[in-house]
Amino acid sequence: MATEPLPFAETVRDRFPQWVIGAHCYRGDETMILKREGLLEVCRFLRDDPGMAFECLMDLTCVDYLHFGSSLGSAPLMKTPSPLPYFMRPKPTTETWGRMVGEDHRFEVVYHFYSLSRNHRLRLKVPLTEAEATVDSVTGLWQSANWFEREVWDMFGIRFRGHPNLKRILMYEPFDGYPLRKDYPVNRRQPLVGPVN
């Protein structure tokens, strides 16, 4: 894991050793995993440091790892590792990918940054437990976070501390539950709501 160069993660780790859980580079995407307490501090550094200069928060989303590795659903469970790498041409490098946190961290809020001036990307992940599914809002740093965070709240029920207007964006207010969570059944129906005429 330490063989690939991780320019951004190393810099951040040197500066904020207490917040960085780990880092890896998978398929050319550099990823840094961060404790949620340090999010704002690190984000401000990422945006304002001239060597980082991530002016743009391209994407913000969340992944629910509840059924990770056992999501085959109706399919017969095949626990064998994916056979693909043995057949690949060229052979994949020894890239490793891992979550680097325990199973109890059910959610990961994922930030994709892009630097216009330096033309590089970085992915930042903040693992959260179900009991404490709250993270600081980065709306004050990037305005694009406003709607992205509303969507994550809407779809996953992650609370963003300090968000100016944290309400549902794609679903309607009386909607019950968080549809992109893995324990929300795909075929669950909810009553249509609307003005009564």
Binding site: D29, C56, M58, L84, M88, H112, Q143, I169, L170, P179
Partner: protein, 463 residues
């Protein structure tokens, strides 16, 4: 009710609520609902505006009326099943969505499409980009009263959609991309036909340019309205023509080339003021650049090895079936079947040219599936539940330049045959997030061109 009529109402109401006392008149702001279903809205979206006279004081944008659960549906089926859903994200340029999703999954698998396939993807993406821009400019011009331009542009779009239809078999719901390749090769005579059509499209664009670019009414409505500063635009995560109209030169095709864009020579047009007029100019120029790319790609597209079989043995599919019935299947492993025009992928011999040589990810040609046991097994292993394309656990974010900006697909795999999580970064989502910011301070009537230049596509906005 049109906006003009609503405005009349608004004026009448505001006079009603003014107190006629001699000393003080109470001034109140008025709320006006535009949408969810409104002729000037390009989809179903609601904008609740607070007006002071005709000036917009605040605006709240409500989205989500077209939410279909794209991301949830992707998790329920195998990788290739997401293709039809991806068509319906940006339904004006569905090919780009298809290829964006393919690119993400291919990166996750660690495979690369063949060179010819990448050229095809570039050509089809650029044709889609032209159709998208034509629709956007045409519709915005129509809303400003230039109906002729709309008809001209839709006419041109129709020609391009005929091209798309010739390649993919459908105009809109094309489902043309496949993980590791595309569904079928380009048809015969495609290059000549495309060149002819592009010439025609150029003529239409010149006509429209003459009608709009120096048109006093058009300029008055577009110039200086819907302004956004570059810094704001970046902070809002805006990309694409919208950002380039602010003078920021960012295009995924140039900055981080994918497919074979690094081999194409094209310019990234930018404007200065970040207003509606600038966005119009950028889109007009981008169409020209897209045509440039298509022409270059058509000129340099590699033919590839037509017959890839080591021994060069080719057999008509029907003969292969007959032999199989007789039990003579001994040599089938090394034999290629010849295209059968009645089955999908009529240019069968070219199939290996457009699809990555990775049997674990790429579907076999239909003739092989029906024609021999190897093909059938290959098909089975990719299609049946529990088999399928199985990327190793991991995640990837792949960005392509959609017609509206950066279209990103973030795919997480847990090693099973269906994506664990698919996230789309829709380009117009961030622009819509900034819309209220742009509307405030402008007149109510400026909402129409501003909203038109956003080019909101309900499918990708609400997913």
């Amino acid at each position: 009710m049109s906006i003009q009529a609503e405005l009349l109402h608004a004026k009448r109401d505001s006079t009603l609520i003014t107190h006629h006392s001699s000393l003080a008149t109470e001034k109140r702001h008025m709320f006006l609902n535009v949408g969810p279903s409104h002729p000037a809205m390009h989809g179903i979206v609601q904008i609740i505006t607070e007006l002071d006279g005709e000036r917009v004081v605040s605006a709240e944008v409500e989205i989500g009326y077209l939410h279909r659960g794209f991301e949830k549906m992707c998790e329920t089926g195998p990788y290739n099943n997401a293709m039809p859903y991806a068509d319906r994200l940006n339904y004006v340029s569905p090919l780009i969505n298809n290829f964006g999703f393919c690119l993400a999954v291919e990166r996750l698998l660690g495979i690369e499409a063949t060179e010819r396939c990448q050229y095809i993807r570039v050509i089809m993406s650029e044709i889609s980009r032209i159709t998208d821009h034509l629709t956007c400019i045409g519709a915005s011009a129509m809303e400003l009263g230039a109906f002729t331009v709309f008809l001209y542009m839709i006419k041109a779009r129709e020609w391009l959609w005929e091209l798309v239809e010739a390649v993919t078999g459908a105009r809109l719901t094309i489902s043309y991309g496949r993980v590791g390749g595309v569904k079928a090769d380009l048809p015969e005579g495609f290059a000549e036909r495309t060149k002819k059509i592009l010439e025609e499209v150029r003529k239409v664009l010149i006509e429209c340019d003459q009608l709009l670019t120096r048109n006093r009414i058009f300029i008055d409505r577009m110039q200086g309205t819907g302004v956004i500063a570059p810094k704001e635009a970046i902070s809002f995560g805006i990309t694409g023509p919208f950002l380039r109209a602010c003078g920021v030169n960012y295009d995924v095709r140039k900055a981080q080339p994918y497919f074979v864009y690094d081999r194409m020579r094209f310019d990234v047009p930018t404007a200065e003021h970040g207003d509606n007029y600038g966005r119009y100019l950028v889109r007009m120029e981008e169409m020209e650049q897209s045509m440039r790319i298509v022409e270059q790609a058509l000129a340099t597209i590699p033919q590839g090895p037509i017959v890839v079989d080591a021994e060069g043995r080719v057999m008509p599919a029907a003969m292969m079936v007959d032999l199989a019935k007789a039990g003579a299947t001994r040599d089938f492993k090394t034999v290629q079947t010849v295209p059968d025009p009645t089955l999908e992928g009529a240019t069968k011999r070219l199939h290996t040219v457009i699809n990555a040589p990775e049997k674990r990810a790429v579907l076999p040609p239909k003739e092989d599936t029906y024609g021999n046991i190897e093909g059938l097994m290959h098909h089975f292993k990719l299609v049946m539940i529990g088999h399928g394309i199985r990327p190793p656990p991991g995640e990837v974010y792949a960005a392509v330049e959609g017609a509206n900006g950066e279209l990103g697909f973030y795919v997480v795999s847990d090693g099973s045959d269906r994506p664990y999580r698919v996230r789309v970064r829709p380009p117009c989502f961030t622009i819509m997030g900034a819309l209220s910011h742009m509307l405030v301070g402008d007149m109510l009537a400026d909402m129409v061109p501003t909203f038109g230049s956003v080019n909101m596509i309900g499918g990708e906005l609400d997913r």
